[in-house]
Each structure stands twice: as structure tokens, then as C-alpha cells.
Symmetry: C2
Subunit: 87 residues, 2 copies
């Protein structure tokens, strides 16, 4: 049954890979709410801190990876915004 | 320090509210990868099952709520697709 927890962690982390590939390809992230991205990023950072406290390597690894993916997506959205301002 | 875990759960669940409000208002979800939505939904469902197994009410509540939000977003994306086909 721990396998379910492990699989859950892998899926909710890996899901960001196809999303980033799409966002990178289309350079379109307008449908993402800024508030969504900011709040989920802070939440995931808190999960990572919680993992450090619990000394749970799986929680740390999953959330640090997700954090990197989210920061990349935020970077894409920021660069889109800059292009819009420049237009 | 459990507060950090609690806050993390609240944030990674609540983040979906502004996203759904935006997607509902704009009726535009094209920037979301289908694979992202499907994989994160299965992952969150697994987290909920894991919570049931661990008898962890917080994990169950956070993930069942997130599951509902995700199914709503998938519904919006499906209805957008139907409109595109009808066009």
C-alpha cells in the first residue's frame, strides 16, 4: 500500500513534465492564473520544508522537483508578460 | 511545525480556487496540457486512497477537494473542446 503513496508522489510530480513541454512549445501560459501559480508554489515549498522536518526523503525529493518545475513555468509566464509589454 | 504541513495542504488545495474562477470566466483552458490534467488527477486520487489507508483525515480531505476542483477543470476543458468541434 506504500506503493500507492509512492505512485501518488511520482504522478503529482511527473505531471508537470508534459505541462512544461507544452508551455515551452506554445509559449502560451495565459490560461494559468497568477494566483494559482504563486499559491501552489508557496504550498509546495511548505511541503518541502515539512519533508525536511519529518526527515522524509521522498517528500523532500518530490516537492523540490515540483518546485523547480513550477519556477520554470513562472519564468515562462513572466517572459510572456514581458513580450506582451514590449508589443 | 505540523502547522507548516497543515498550511502546505491548505495552500496546494486552495490554489485551485483562483484557477477555476479564471478558467470559468475566460472559458479558455487551451494552455493546460491534457496529459498534465489526467496525470495530476490520477495522482491526487492515489493520494486520497493513500490517506484512507493511513486513516489520515487531513490527507483525505485535501485530496478529495483537489480531486473535485480538477474534475471541474477537466469538465471546462472538455466543454471547450466540444465548442471547438462544433465551430
Amino acid at each position: 500500500m506504500t506503493t500507492i503513496g509512492f505512485l501518488a508522489g511520482v504522478l503529482t510530480t511527473a505531471c508537470w513534465v508534459p505541462q512544461l513541454l507544452r508551455s515551452w512549445r506554445t509559449r502560451s501560459t495565459a490560461d494559468f492564473s497568477w494566483l494559482y501559480l504563486v499559491v501552489i508554489t508557496v504550498g509546495v515549498a511548505f511541503w518541502a520544508v515539512y519533508g525536511v522536518w519529518r526527515q522524509d526523503v521522498a517528500v523532500i525529493a518530490a516537492n523540490v522537483a515540483t518546485l523547480c518545475f513550477l519556477l520554470f513555468l513562472i519564468g515562462l509566464k513572466l517572459s510572456e508578460r514581458r513580450r506582451e509589454v514590449a508589443r
